[in-house]
Symmetry: C2
Subunit: 242 residues, 2 copies
């Protein structure tokens, strides 16, 4: 498929309206069937995948640019976003090799010779997302974190750094955004275990969560479970971010 | 003092060699006499203070730019640096008001209409630093964190965000960089208390530190103390960063 005329226009538009040398990359995490997933895009006419991303308009803040990109790819009006790292190496990946893989003619006049990318991760409720490709891509879908293929650019590295950041920030981040409004303690434990990558002791986990003062027990219980129906909980407050 | 000719040359140089729209700001933390200090610069011919900062050359990575700036201001060849936040609002501060305060004629052709700043903090051993002004400033010195005056740009806000990040990362960061090679447990506790802003229980702190597996007790003890000489410790490994 020839998509080079629209991409030429796109490159010109970016060069005029956006901040040269800078981009946004987004690692959108969802939690489903005890797996952490990330949202990936497949480039038109190829089998090459990458993260959602975009550029920062001169008239918008960096956070607004990130929100715009993530909202467009998820269909969500509100989502929890966290800056986690700036990828600022002079050579982040082999540009020519990437352009060849996706059959892209890059206009050297309007395109910058390097791109510094500001990484954001988003925590979203899996079931609410409507994965939506952009005009350069033809597929947008969830991939389990441990099955992510070799990606374009340095996007595997970006996912790795995002996952480490999420793991480190597990106790101060509003991971409630990854869960439906109400959930059981074992469900919350699965989420923690999935992010950390190792099992946790159920009794200690329960104690720690109760001591945190962030959970409220509801009067309803989870229906349709084979054993005694477990209580449902919800978070009492949305935690603040930096 | 007229420093406008050199600053004109500087602006031209930055416009040619550096990445437009982007800057680095550095919050350099030192720990001295149970106080957390930050390194500030005073602009030539004024009583206006700000953080050390600079621009990213097209040929260097963002990390290299940050290292260069921090090394120049501290005289240290190696220092522990951590990216903590990108300040990307469209209007971060009143530019004209800042230029007036420091009597700077800004060349609108070579200067960008907004600047996105990548914040780094550095953890340094206070006694090893040789505070060194740059060519725009005439004084560089430590300020206790709780006595920092109203600063130029949005630098009070940047310090606030850096301090929150340091506090949050207290347990995974190599805060060993803020201490001399060997130290007593009470000295380490003072550092934690200073960063957190509240006292800690000595017995629990001791237990937690011993359980962390990061400390090694030396055979020497701290000399010159009025009571029984306490043991000296050091960190056994340098912790990794993202």
């Amino acid at each position: 498929m020839d998509y080079n005329q629209p991409t030429k226009n796109f490159q010109k538009e970016v060069a005029e309206q956006c901040i040269r040398y800078l981009s946004i990359d987004g690692v959108i995490f969802g939690f489903h069937q005890n797996q952490l997933n990330v949202l990936l895009l497949r480039w038109k006419g190829t089998n090459e995948w990458c993260l959602p991303g975009g550029f920062i308009r001169k008239t918008e803040s960096v956070d607004e640019a990130a929100e715009r990109v993530m909202q467009e790819r998820t269909g969500l009006n509100e989502l929890f976003l966290q800056q986690f790292h700036v990828f600022g190496a002079v050579v982040r990946y082999d540009q020519d090799a990437v352009w060849r893989k996706i059959n892209l003619n890059v206009d050297a006049d309007s395109w910058s010779e390097r791109t510094i990318s500001i990484g954001y991760y988003a925590l979203v409720e899996h079931s609410k997302v409507v994965p939506t490709p952009d005009f350069l891509t033809e597929e947008c879908r969830w991939w389990p974190l441990d099955e992510v293929p070799g990606l374009l650019f340095d996007h595997n590295h970006i996912i790795e750094v995002a996952t480490r950041a999420l793991r480190r920030q597990l106790n101060d981040q509003p991971i409630s955004h990854l869960l439906p409004e109400s959930f059981t303690i074992p469900e919350l434990q699965r989420l923690h275990e999935t992010i950390l990558g190792h099992p946790l002791d159920a009794r200690n986990f329960y104690k720690k969560m109760m001591a945190s003062g962030t959970l409220e027990r509801l009067t309803e219980r989870r229906a349709g479970t084979p054993h005694k129906a477990p209580y449902l909980y919800r978070f009492t407050r949305s935690e603040s971010q930096a």
